[in-house]
Amino acid sequence: MTTCSRRNFVSGVGALILTTGTIVSLKAQGESEKQEKPKRYAMVHDESVCIGCTACMEACRETNQVPEGVSRLEIIRSGPIGEFPNQEYEFFRQSCQHCTNAPCVAVCPTGASYIDPTTGIVDVNRDLCVGCQYCVAVCPYRVRFIHPVHKTADKCNFCRDTNLAKGKQPACVEACPTKALTFGDMNDSNSAVARKVRENPVYRTKVQLGTEPNLYHIPFGKGEHR
């Protein structure tokens, strides 16, 4: 006859909890390793091959139903450099940088501006946005605007709700005739975008602000770059 004293019972249960607990925690660790890493979508604009045709701007406008007068994406032309007939122009892409540390998200009073945790895309929830324009004012890249139809803040979202949802590349990337735009996951070291960033001289703008932007540029190579 074994007597189950209170002392034996408590120590037994304690040991049981201890062992099962560690097993559970071990199991959890194993699972997290199998889980996919969250994506960090980024884009590279190769200024050395961009021809400034603005096909990207047109495609964006059409795909995302952006009205005339405002734009999510702009190609800024500067130049010419050199003498006729050997002149060149430089083209700079101005659009949302999808900052990892986004000021627009930090200032939003309603939580309408947010970073999608699975993709790293900075997006706006139209139902929550009240149009206060804090984000428009705070964005150091000057890429936000108030949508004339929806009266809410709007900007590039890498076609998250349009082309990406259909499993396609963003409209601008698809439209580019010289393949100057590369889009993909920076967390995947084998992705085209990660390779582009690794194998080319790249720069990002206003890194000193600590915004951690995700729009990379391959410099034009002539004159002073931004």
Binding site: C53, T54, A55, E58, P80, Q87, Y89
Partner: protein
């Protein structure tokens, strides 16, 4: 008697007025004639001054239906603003030979004396004149500064691409006149897209050749 005299006086007065009027008219007509043909510029419109485009147009038919036209160069109608403009260098109207150069009879046999504007850069046939040779004809009147003001892309294509690749001078409506942004972008995309495809294909070929070796 008095009444007869009065009548005569009236009649003579009317005659006098009429005579005066005719002389005045004649005077006016003279002055008008003087204004029409001032002595300083002696310009006679003679029938024996032949229309310089006439000779070309005998074969390269103006305003003929396309199915009647012979050969690729003879197709279609010749329109366009150039036929109404003057050559800024000479002040004379622009004719066929202003742009197409000194043409001999042998141009029918393909002699390289007539300027042939060929805009198809993806053609397998090598054009008779390079883009630079072709464009120099255009640049003799069209200044780079004016072209840039019109559209920046003139600068980057200046001597690399024939003007005729985008511009069409002889159809009724010039293709680039008042072109919509979307159509213009499509031109860039089509041409540069094709270029990239060919480049990639060429690279593919060279790598395959290297693999074989």
């Amino acid at each position: 008697m008095n009444s007869v005299l009065k009548k005569f006086a009236k009649l003579s007065a009317v005659f006098g007025v009429m005579l005066f009027a005719t002389t005045v008219q004649a005077e006016q007509a003279k002055t008008e004639a003087k204004q029409e043909s001032p002595v300083a510029s002696f310009e006679q419109k003679l029938d024996n001054v032949r229309d310089p485009n006439h000779y070309c147009a005998q074969c390269h038919n103006l305003d003929v239906a396309k199915d009647q036209a012979v050969g690729t160069n003879h197709a279609g109608k010749f329109h366009g603003v150039h036929l109404t403009k003057e050559n800024p260098a000479t002040g004379k109207p622009i004719t066929c030979v202003s742009c197409h150069g000194n043409i001999s009879e042998n141009h029918r046999k393909g002699v390289k004396d007539v300027m042939r504007f060929d805009g198809d850069i993806f053609s397998d046939e090598k054009p008779m004149y390079t883009a630079e040779e072709q464009n120099q004809v255009c640049f003799s009147c069209h200044r780079p500064k004016d072209l840039r003001e019109k559209f920046w892309a003139h600068d980057v294509h200046a001597m690399k691409l024939p003007c005729a690749s985008c511009h069409t001078l002889h159809p009724e409506k010039e293709a680039m006149k008042e072109i919509k942004t979307k159509e213009r972008v499509k031109l860039c995309v089509d041409c540069h897209g094709e270029q990239r495809k060919r480049k990639e294909a060429a690279q593919q070929m060279t790598t395959e050749q290297k693999d074989k070796q």
